[in-house]
């Protein structure tokens, strides 16, 4: 009986240490390291006219104070532009420490290193920076007006303008029987993992090596950047990702200033140095997302078929643009959703503002695009007097239309082609799950508390598993343990578990015998990172391919040892044996011994691989030309393009007309990410995604004042939801395999968050008749809007 691990609700390998408090997060090591603290700008936009550190020098325990003037070589240059693009005509990135000018509250101006964090902060408080304030550009309205400039050499604050078009949208809209013009907006928010950022570096003078631990989503990215900036050989820089307390996108940015400054200081001082971000720092120096304004012209016929769609939108990229224009490209290319478009034109303008830099946060431009498309669908339904689910049904791409080519370029530079899906199937499931047909009776039934009920729906498609590649190394040790390494990182997704499930199936071993390491450049130096719902697709397939190569080698060696034909062999429970004859077998541990011809034995079992152990062909080398010692293999997975997951959410809400409070009575999620490796973990991803979606719709926003101060930069004022604020989603799965990868899987990490604002806006509008054109919405705002409607 063969055990199948793929598809099982396997308990997580990670949890044994995490529930004991034995995880190894960034700040759980380096207790004797020197501590760094940063002096950060209190101004959104200012010239630095002087920095006086003299008072800080009296602080007992101070080790050093550094400003831009102290930075050598490439460390004094602007940090890398991570993703250049031809349309990004005015890229600007920050300096590791501000050079003469600050462009957002929180920008690092000086670094203090001291014996501990308390002392470092004492010294930082004594550093006096003279600023000459400049006009601050805060928010998209100010950026678009262009009266004041963030960067004086960037006219109109415009970083980039891009257009993509399918067909001829303007002509299609002009010729359409019906046309609507609509405006939609989404506010700024942030990932806000429970663990902030952090860096811990150690220079080993004997070996000339730098070891960096950083709470990142891309250890190989940090390694390449630090080696380049500090002008060290790549092989002299090791980057290890410890347990990471959540990322959600913001930790994919690299190198953050601290990620180059802390290693530099460690080498300079020849001491371990550590910096751990505090919560205020996270609000004002870790990247944000989501702020966009959109204008839509949609043309459609009397049946609700979309004939042409023109979208112009404005993206707030914050003070700098290290991540290029990936976010607005994602909005532009994912906005079409699951619908059949023949004529679609999208133009976006990416604008600088004097606020924290914007890079992807879970969902990454898709919540905005989904909001625009889904609200547009609701408006079309309303204009024609047809049901919201019906107008969607009439426009869905049919299962027989895949692959569906949009003739556009996706965020990875590859063609935007949906690979597979069953969107009508999803719609049927979500209508059933939420009780769509029975809702009108529910609405009509008198409610005891006077609250008004509404139902909403939103659909999305998510490009997942973007390239360029991931790789993996699988090694069966002579003790029978299967050691797996892949370079991408983990922030709680459960990669140690799901990759072990995949390898266990491929090699015919127990999942408990598979040990997975992620994000350690010493173990696997070629990788990209964890973002864009790509880890399962990319590294999942890479570990499968590497494990298949190991299996083939194991079968070949075992066939020799058992004097059997390779095709007659099977691997079960860690034993290679002749099919139908379990007694004629050899354990993988012994195959591993035989795979490595030995001069010197190290154990009784290993004697079998020594030179006098058994007769061998005198004309064949112990390791032939086309072979390598060891039962191990390395392989890579690199897709031609992304694979597209999809889903639909529906919600029933109750709105209290006296307070504007929204309660989510039911929340239904139907999700298709192909075959599920571990349903328990996929459901966990959906729970967390929906939670962040609800937070973004009803609670969380980053509130800047006109001067560019982030006035809610704490957990007391930024309303991250507690247990009491969130629904328990009901979940149904559909599993449409991808034809693009060996496992047929699609990504699942971000999906939960994408349609939530659109879905809740639809439900709230349905409940109280207020136009929901912008999110998030707070109870006082909704109450005011309801009053306006009543007053007329």
């Amino acid at each position: 009986m063969t055990t199948q691990w793929f598809g099982e609700r396997v308990e997580r390998r990670e949890d044994e240490r995490l529930v004991r408090g034995a995880g190894r997060f960034l700040d759980d090591a380096g207790h004797d390291a020197l501590a760094a603290a940063f002096v950060r700008s209190p101004h959104a936009h200012a010239r630095i006219t002087g920095i006086d550190v003299s008072d800080a020098l009296d602080v007992d325990g101070l080790v050093g104070v550094y400003t831009w003037d102290d930075l050598p070589g490439r460390l004094a240059d602007p940090l890398p532009l991570l993703i250049p693009h031809p349309d990004l005509t005015h890229p600007r990135t920050q300096y590791a420490l501000a050079r003469g000018e600050v462009n957002h509250v929180g920008e690092a101006v000086a670094m203090v290193v001291a014996v501990d964090r308390y002392v470092a902060e004492d010294a930082a408080e004594r550093i006096v920076v003279d600023y000459e304030p400049l006009p601050a550009v805060v928010g998209l309205d100010a950026a678009r007006a262009g009266n004041d400039l963030v960067h004086e050499d960037v006219p109109g604050n415009v970083a980039a303008v891009t257009t993509q078009e399918l067909g001829d949208a303007a002509a299609a809209v002009a010729a359409a029987p019906r046309v609507l013009e609509l405006d939609f907006a989404i506010e700024r928010s942030l990932s806000s993992p429970l663990e902030g950022r952090g860096v811990h570096a150690r220079w080993d003078p004997e070996d000339g090596r730098l070891r960096i631990r950083t709470s990142t989503q891309t250890s190989t990215g940090v390694r390449a950047a630090v080696a380049n900036i500090l002008e060290l050989p790549d092989v002299a820089v090791d980057v290890l990702t410890p347990d990471v307390g959540g990322g959600f996108g913001t930790k994919v940015v690299h190198p953050y200033p601290e990620e180059v400054l802390i290693p530099w200081a460690a080498r300079l001082l020849d001491r371990e140095v550590k910096w751990v971000e505090d919560r205020y720092e996270h609000f004002v120096s870790a990247t944000h997302e989501r702020g966009q304004q959109h204008h839509v012209r949609v043309g459609f016929d009397d049946d609700g078929t979309i004939l042409g769609l023109e979208v112009d939108f404005w993206h707030d990229t914050g003070a700098y643009a290290p991540y290029g224009i990936v976010l607005p490209i994602i909005t532009a290319t994912q906005l079409p959703g699951p619908y059949r478009h023949r004529n679609y034109r999208v133009t976006f303008t990416s604008l600088y503002t004097n606020t924290v830099t914007v890079t992807p946060y879970r969902g990454a431009g898709r919540p905005q695009g989904c909001f625009v498309m889904e609200r547009t669908m609701d408006r079309v339904a309303e204009a024609l007097g047809i049901r919201r689910d019906e107008v969607r049904a009439r426009n869905l791409i049919r299962p027989d239309e895949f692959p569906y080519d949009f003739s556009m370029t996706f965020q990875d530079g590859r063609p935007l082609i949906y690979d597979s899906g069953d969107y009508p199937g999803l719609l049927d499931k979500v209508r059933a799950l939420v009780g769509w047909e029975g809702f009108e009776a529910e609405r009509a039934s008198p409610s005891a508390d006077g609250r008004r009920l509404g139902i909403g729906l939103a659909c999305y498609v998510e490009g997942t598993g973007v390239g360029p590649y991931e790789g993996a190394h699988v090694h069966v040790e002579t003790n029978g343990r299967v050691m797996v390494a892949t370079g991408l990182t983990s922030q709680g997704q459960g990669h140690e578990t799901v990759f072990a499930q995949i390898v266990a199936d491929e090699l015919g071993v127990h999942v408990a015998d598979v040990y997975v390491t992620t994000g350690d450049t010493r173990r696997f130096p070629y990788a990209v990172g964890t973002y864009a719902s790509r880890a399962a697709v990319m590294s999942g397939n890479a570990v499968a391919l590497a494990a298949r190569a190991v299996r083939a080698k194991a079968v070949r060696i075992a066939a020799d040892a058992l004097e059997a034909a390779p095709e007659d062999l099977a691997i079960e429970s860690g034993v290679v044996h002749v099919r139908g004859t379990p007694s004629r077998g050899i354990p993988l541990s012994q195959v591993a011994v035989l795979s490595n011809p030995l001069r010197y034995s190290f154990s009784k079992e290993a004697q079998a691989a020594t030179q006098f152990a058994s007769p061998a062909d005198p004309d064949v080398a112990p390791v032939p030309d086309d072979d390598e010692p060891g039962l191990e293999a390395r392989d890579y997975y690199s897709p031609v393009r992304s694979t597209f997951a999809a889903g639909m959410h529906a919600a029933v809400v109750a709105v209290d007309p006296e307070t504007g409070t929204v309660e989510i009575l039911r929340y239904a999620v139907v999700h298709d990410c192909g075959p599920l490796i571990n349903p328990m973990l996929v459901e966990g991803q959906i729970h967390g995604g929906v939670a962040q979606g609800v937070a973004g719709a009803l609670l969380e926003r980053l509130a800047y004042d006109e001067a560019g101060n982030l006035v809610n930069a704490s957990f007391m004022d930024f309303l991250m939801p507690y247990l009491s604020e969130l629904p328990v989603p009901e979940i149904d799965h559909q599993e449409t395999p991808s034809p693009l990868n060996p496992l047929g899987i699609k990504g699942a990490g971000e999906a939960g968050v994408i349609p939530v604002s659109a879905c809740l806006a639809s439900a709230i509008e349905d409940a109280v008749g207020v136009r929901m054109d912008a999110m998030p919405i707070s109870p006082p705002e909704l109450w005011s809007r309801m009053r306006e409607v009543e007053v007329g």
Partner: protein, 162 residues
């Protein structure tokens, strides 16, 4: 260390008597994590809102990031490292969170484990409202709390088994 005045604090942590010399301003969370090397207690916000740093102080949940170490002299502190059984086996609360996938990144988890331990000590069979009340002050960014609540229910089952 710098030349700040220090104070001796003797405190019982997970059943062991520990003695540290600390400045008056040193937080209990820092003493646990960096002086006693009990790093299971995590610090998520340093302003008492997220609850990742929750420990039991004489049996009551407190935010160790809002507690000065000098305040806990003579007290008994329980951290996540104190929740396993005498032979190192997972305690029922720890076991339940693993079984029900009550954690993802694991950073907030120690705080929730201690809140659950406190809840079950007071009420071996809590209802949903009791669970919401007991756990409603800690933040988790990964799970949407769905499986945390399921884990608490499972912990009550496991703790009630003979």
């Amino acid at each position: 260390m710098s030349s700040e005045e220090t104070h001796e604090v003797v405190v019982t942590v997970n059943g062991s008597v520990r003695s540290v010399r600390v400045p008056a301003r040193r937080l209990l969370s820092d003493v646990l994590r960096h002086d006693l090397r009990l790093t299971g207690t995590h610090v998520g916000c340093e302003h008492g809102v997220c609850g990742a740093c929750t420990v039991l102080l004489d049996g009551q949940p407190v935010r160790s990031c809002l507690t000065f170490a000098v305040m806990v002299g003579g007290a008994e502190v329980t951290t996540v490292e104190g929740l396993a059984g005498p032979d190192g086996e997972l305690g029922p609360v720890q076991q339940a969170f693993r079984e029900r996938h009550g954690l993802q990144c694991g950073f907030c988890t120690p705080g929730f484990l201690l809140l659950t331990t406190d809840l079950l000590a007071r009420d071996p069979d809590p209802g949903d409202d009791d669970i919401r009340e007991a756990l409603g002050g800690n933040l988790c960014r990964c799970t949407g709390y769905v499986n945390i609540v399921r884990s608490v229910r499972r912990a009550a089952e496991l703790a009630g088994e003979p």
